[in-house]
Symmetry: C2
Subunit: 326 residues, 2 copies
């Protein structure tokens, strides 16, 4: 079992340099690792370094760096050559959510790395137990689910597949401290992990309210922003119940449970969006309407908000962590 | 129809001076109204003024006040005499969630006020259509659901009952601008309104994860804090989908919908909490364990966090409001 004493000296690999992969590279660099970044698509090579530089500059602006941006870039190798992964203690796969493509990528990673390397997928859609069948040492395979931008969020979900050796998952959880995360560890490979389960329960209910004409999309968004948004960064849903009172909560739960949406099929509006190739703020076609200017304003607001909420979250750390209690 | 030109000059009433009623009084005072606060329980009279003074001082500390605390207190009458409500344009009922008790309170309010007074309930558990049957002018009755602390959140949910005249609801929504709110308007009286529907969908899923042993309570809370908590104050769930991409969202929704909890009965843990009279941080018995010191730390953290998140939310206003689009 590896330890985290000299954790910064570990070399880590990232395969896939899209939006998510790029920001995971930045998170690893900021944590002090040397990073081998493999571009499975030649086209990713073109923009990767300048994109990573830009995100490092964002990190610098937010006072996350302890050295100049160029010093971090010195620690980064961007390549199409999988064999450079041979020294990595951990390789993070971040390619698109397609089992066939991931299978090809895993076989290339496995041929390059040593037998002690941990391989992790950033998937949030495919069960870890399915993916780990595609590698030669499934006990060393697990899920590490980041949220965007990876270098400026505290979220990290570590998930074991059926065959994962739990001690590797615990090693990752420990390392995640170095990455500035507040990790959760899911020992069972449930579909959607924790966060997607919770969020998609909200989506199901919100979509039902819209579909039934009970509320507008704007009002659903507003209610959630200004109610949940006023406490959620401080405390989760169970702690919130300890604030509101258990008797009242039980009463409201009992009256609302039978009213909640139980649909098993997604409302038509989602297929309509796919059919018209809506990519939201990225192509200004989405659930809401955007002018190019508005789309840019939203992107800028999100970048700025990330920084603000990241600092705010840091001010209110978890007083209790389940990992310490184990 | 009343207008909001001289909105500050309106006199408003609040009946019920518990936690919520007290902080609604503070919100009205800060907005510039003269407030008649009626204590249905003599015991509420004792602490009410000092509690309101303390909250005004909190507002002063957060730079919400434009005059000294005492000037606001000059605008406040605390009484057990319902007849002092006779000049009020709006009376806000904030007593406990019990139809019989509310019925008694409404009859006292109705005998005191003029025929043009709007009567509103802060209920989040009882349908507005049920409550409005208890007053003499049901078309002037509606729901105004605040969140705690009322003077330092942007959330406000205005709900029409079956018999509510929509123009009064729109008048309240307009007034809510003066109160510093981002109101939503629910024209149909659905159980749980918007925010409880969304939140209790999360609770149902979270409780199921715990009940099935899939995740710990701590990890559910952490995942939600650090994932949803990293964007929710900026944008709601539908806007978030426009950020993540509609095609991917549709794919994940489709795979997760059939896995979500559809239970209609509340897990046993909630009844256990009620049986052992757990009141969470208020009596240090709850879903989590607390020492008196920890309970106090949580209360202080929440008061401080309120202020921080309120300011952060103010920095990122809603660029689109559905009300303006109507």
């Amino acid at each position: 079992m590896q330890n985290t004493d000299s954790a910064k000296d570990l070399v880590v690999g990232v395969v896939g340099l899209g939006l998510m992969g790029g920001s995971i590279v930045v998170a690893f660099l900021i944590a002090g690792h040397r990073v081998i970044a493999v571009a499975p698509l030649s086209s990713d090579m073109v923009e990767a370094r300048s994109h990573i530089r830009k995100q490092l500059a964002h990190g610098e602006h937010s006072e996350l760096l302890s050295m100049p941006v160029d010093k971090y870039l010195d620690q980064l190798t961007i390549t199409e050559d999988y064999s450079l992964l041979n020294d990595c203690s951990l390789v993070m796969e971040c390619v698109i959510e397609n089992v066939e493509i991931k299978k090809t990528v895993f076989s290339k990673i496995v041929s390059a790395v040593s037998q002690s390397t941990i391989i992790a997928s950033n998937t949030s859609a495919i069960p870890i137990s399915t993916l780990q069948k595609l590698v030669s040492h499934p006990q060393r395979f697990l899920g590490i689910h980041w949220s965007e931008p990876a270098y400026m969020t505290r979220f990290l979900e570590v998930t074991c597949g059926d065959q994962t050796d739990k001690s590797y998952a615990e090693w990752v959880v420990e390392l995640a401290g170095l990455w500035g995360k507040e990790p959760t560890l899911l020992k069972k490979d449930i579909r959607g992990f924790i966060t997607n389960r919770l969020m998609y329960a909200v989506y199901r209910e919100g979509l039902a309210l819209i579909e039934n004409g009970d509320a507008t999309m704007e009002d659903v968004d507003k209610a959630f922003r200004y109610d949940a948004g006023s406490w959620i960064t401080l405390m989760g849903i169970f702690r919130r119940m300890d604030f509101l009172g258990l008797r009242d909560s039980k009463q409201v739960l009992t009256s609302i449970y039978p009213k909640l949406c139980n649909k098993e099929t997604v409302p038509a509006v989602m297929q309509e969006m796919v059919d018209k190739q809506a990519r939201g703020i990225h192509n200004m076609k989405g659930l809401f309407e955007y002018t190019p200017e508005e789309a840019r304003q939203w992107e800028n607001a999100f970048a700025e908000f990330n920084e603000d909420i990241f600092k705010l979250a840091a001010k209110y750390p978890s007083p209790v962590t389940s990992l310490n209690q184990d």
